[in-house]
Amino acid sequence: MWFVRFVSSSIGKKVTMALSGLMLLLFLCSHAAGNATIYMSRAVFQGYADELHSHPLIVIVFSTGLFLVFLAHISLGLLLFLQNRQAGASRYTVSTRVVTNSLASETMPYTGLCILLFVLIHVFGFAFGPTGEMISDTVKRLLGHFFYGLFYLVAFAALALHLSHGFWSMLQTFGVNHPRYNKMINKLTYIVPLFFLLLFGGIVLYFMTGRGASF
C-alpha cells in the first residue's frame, strides 16, 4: 500500500519524525500559553486549569492524541537511531566532524531520552498527582524543592538543545530551504528554543528561589 511504502522509506521516516515533531511543538506552544498564566496570579492560573478540566472530553481526546504522537516520535526516533548506528557508527579509526556546532544534531537521541524521562516524571508528579489538591498548590509544593526544580531546569536545557536542531531539521525535511528564508530560519532555530527555555525556566526559578512562597 502506498502509505506503508511511504512511511517505511528513508524520506517517509524523516517526514514522520518531522510531522510528529511539529505536533509536539504545537502542543508545547499551547502548554506554554497555559503556564504563562502563572506569571499573572494564582487565581488566573487556577481558573485556567479548572476551566480546562471542566471539559473532560477535550482533555481525554487531546491527551490520547498527544500520547500517540509521542509514541510515534519516540519509537521511530529509536528505530532510526539503531538503524543509523548499524549503517554508520565507528567506521573510521579517525573520525572528524567538519560541521562546526554539531552538538545538538549529534546528541538528538540522548536529549530526546532526557525529555522522555522528564515527561514521565512531570506527568506522574502533576497529572497523576495527589487527588484533591489544588493544581496551584501542587506546582508550589513540587517546584519549591531545590533538586526537583534543578532537574526541571536541566530537562528544559535538554529540550532547548533538542529543539535547536529539531526546528531547523523539521523545516529542511518538509523541503523548506530557500535563500530568501534561510537567514530567518537560522535565527528562529535559536529563538524558538530560547523562548521556551526562558518561559518554562522562569516559572521553575520563581518557585525554586522562594519568591513564589506566597503564590
Partner: protein, 251 residues
C-alpha cells in the same frame, strides 16, 4: 622547492573478504607541489622497488572532474581543503612531522575491494533506476525550442556539478546517500525535459537508494561540508518535496 617528511598510516586490505588494518609508512623529501595522489605514487614506487605490494587506490582524470579518487584523510573525506577532490589536494596543506591516517570511503553500501578502493556501483544502480530522461529518437530538436529561465538552468547546473565521488556517503554519520541522490533528482526535475518523469523518478531512485543499504538522513550537514563540488543540501530539501508529492499522489 620545499619538501616535507610525513608519516602515513594507510588502510591495507587484501580483498573484500579479508580483514584489513592500518600500516605505517614514512616518506621523506615529498615536494609540497605534489598532489596527494602523486605523493601516493611516490610511496608506491618505493614499495614496488622494495618488492612489496603497492597501495591500491582509485584515480582517473587527476584534475578534479571525474569523481574516481577519494579517501578519508584524518577523518575528513578528500582531506582538509574545502571543495577539493583528493587529486587536487596539494601537499602544501601539510607540514613536516604530520601523521596522516588514510582510510577508504566507508559505508555499508560501499564494500572495500582492496586497500583504498571501494565498490561504488550502488550509485550506478541509483542512476539506472531513474537518473535519465526518456527521449524518443527523431530529428535533431532545435536547441532553443524549449525556453528555460537562466536561474533554473543555473540551479540545475549546480546540481549537475555532482561527480558522484561518494564523499557525502563517506562523511555522513549515518552513511546516507541523500546528497548524491538529491543532486541527480534535482538536476533533472528542475528542467522542462525532466519534469515529465519527475514523480516516477523520485519514487524509483529513493527506493533503490534505500534498498542499497544507505542509512537514513538526520540532517547533520556533513555531506555538504565535504562535497568537493559544493553541492548544497538545498537539493535534499528539493528531493524531499519531490518524493513527498510523488508518494502522496502517484506511488
Amino acid at each position: 622547492m620545499s619538501t616535507i617528511d610525513l608519516t602515513l598510516q594507510i588502510w591495507r586490505q587484501k580483498n573484500s573478504d579479508s580483514l584489513g588494518n592500518l600500516q605505517t609508512y614514512t616518506l621523506t623529501g615529498i615536494s609540497t607541489d605534489m598532489s596527494f595522489l602523486e605523493m601516493l605514487d611516490v610511496l608506491n614506487e618505493k614499495l614496488t622497488k622494495e618488492g612489496k605490494d603497492p597501495v591500491a587506490f582509485d584515480h582517473d582524470c587527476r584534475e578534479g572532474i571525474c569523481g574516481m579518487c577519494g579517501s578519508v584523510i584524518n577523518g575528513i573525506a578528500h582531506g582538509p581543503e574545502k571543495e577539493t577532490t583528493l587529486c587536487q589536494l596539494h601537499m602544501r596543506n601539510f607540514k613536516t612531522g604530520d601523521i596522516l591516517v588514510v582510510e577508504p570511503f566507508r559505508s555499508r553500501a560501499f564494500p572495500i575491494r582492496k586497500d583504498l578502493i571501494v565498490d561504488r556501483s550502488a550509485f550506478d544502480r541509483i542512476i539506472q533506476s531513474g537518473g535519465y530522461v526518456s527521449v524518443n529518437t527523431g530529428g535533431t530538436p532545435d536547441g532553443n525550442a524549449i525556453p528555460i529561465p537562466a536561474e533554473t538552468a543555473e540551479l540545475a547546473m549546480d546540481a549537475a556539478a555532482c561527480i558522484g565521488c561518494g564523499a557525502c556517503v563517506a562523511a555522513c554519520p549515518n552513511g546516507a546517500a541523500m546528497l548524491f541522490t538529491s543532486a541527480k533528482i534535482s538536476q533533472l526535475c528542475l528542467l522542462p525535459q525532466g519534469k515529465v518523469e519527475r514523480k516516477a523518478r523520485a519514487l524509483a531512485m529513493v527506493k533503490i537508494m534505500d534498498e542499497e543499504g544507505f542509512g537514513n538522513c538526520s540532517n547533520e550537514r556533513e555531506c555538504e561540508a565535504v562535497c568537493p563540488k559544493g553541492i548544497s543540501i538545498r537539493n535534499i530539501a528539493r528531493m524531499n518535496r519531490e518524493f513527498i508529492a510523488a508518494a502522496l499522489f502517484e506511488g
